[in-house]
Subunit: 216 residues, 2 copies
Amino acid sequence: MTVMTSDLGLRERKKQRTRQAISDAAIQLFLARGYDAVSVADVAAAAEVSKPTLFKYFRSKDELILDRIDDHRAEPAQVVRGRSAGESPLDALHRHQLRLLADRDPVTGISDRPQVIAFQRLLYNTESLANALLAYSIEGVELLRDALVEACGPGPHRVTAGLVANQILITTRRLGLDNWAQVAGGRTTEDLYPEAVAAVNHAYALLRGGVGDYCG
Amino acid sequence: MTVMTSDLGLRERKKQRTRQAISDAAIQLFLARGYDAVSVADVAAAAEVSKPTLFKYFRSKDELILDRIDDHRAEPAQVVRGRSAGESPLDALHRHQLRLLADRDPVTGISDRPQVIAFQRLLYNTESLANALLAYSIEGVELLRDALVEACGPGPHRVTAGLVANQILITTRRLGLDNWAQVAGGRTTEDLYPEAVAAVNHAYALLRGGVGDYCG
DNA sequence: TTAGTTTCTTAACTGAGTTAATCTAATGAA
DNA sequence: TTCATTAGATTAACTCAGTTAAGAAACTAA
């Protein structure tokens, strides 16, 4: 007679709890003392597991943090593929970006939740994490390129779709970084939100119409 | 009576030779056996110095490689600042890019020198190096942004110049990566060169005129 | 309950990077 | 030339990230 508390077996539930315990201990310690001042041994001890166990759940120290970031890598490609009939890929991505902003999604760099702010500070102030995040943010280029090719063809040149995908992703990243810089500088979310919307609109206008008007 | 062999003292000359010896040993071993299969201790031994000495000359294992890459980070900003009267920043950058290509500069991804090809393979096939390279390639954004602001003003929105700088640098990187992929796939330089020129021209047309024509 | 499997711990290891004490050798002034 | 100064190197020992192997503990299914 199995207990009905969960669909998964006890073993699976324990694994989930262990993973969560490690992750929680890591975030808490990193936020309290800083990434570099905390060793993985400290995290393991706080989570009451051994070091090898920690590395069975997380591939590296970086991943203890990066795991907490919602995976947006495949999103742009999905947005392009899932757009409504008659909508252009760029319109769909633009609309999606405004949606994320309205939801105050952490990727946009706009959030007033203190935990989120502290977490982002950790991310952007730790070199190895910031580098990993940059790599992460354009990891989806090929996916987006494929989606664009599907939607619009390869374009007039072999490199077109890839270049466009790159521009879109780096622009998204920059917008997020820029908002974060403002928030880190003390701006409030309410204060910043209209500007952030305008920035997204402006960025998409740049993408669509080019930078020729600005700087020749 | 000082010997006239060099302007620098013996001590300084020895330092230069030591640095070179470490760098040479590192590249040679990495190319022969692969980055991960060679330890810094191996490099130090081959260069006949101690490990702490190695780390006095190079901050990390990565830097043993990255040190060999010509520093192009400040170049875009310099190109913009040093452009001839009447030339737009984008035109200057475009021209500069074609110049690098004509010179078969390694950054362009086009080179038929086997050493360069082997070196690039090492760079792009080693995750930590590829990540570092990505970070490196857009490290000059703020410099370029400042140069653009100087040349064209901040633009119609707070974020404009930064977004444009980002797009230019990521585009340059992508062009290089794309060329490298072709070379790595067996294309010859002569074969590829005209395409690469066309790609640069196309990329700058995209930057100038936007992607709107391609994908809405 | 037990056999079989998965997961955990312990202990010891490799490799990157650092630190402190000690030693060597280039330098420059007497 | 000589010698004190000082920059640079070495040795040895250390911290920390990440891995491996052997065995102990515990969930699962019968």
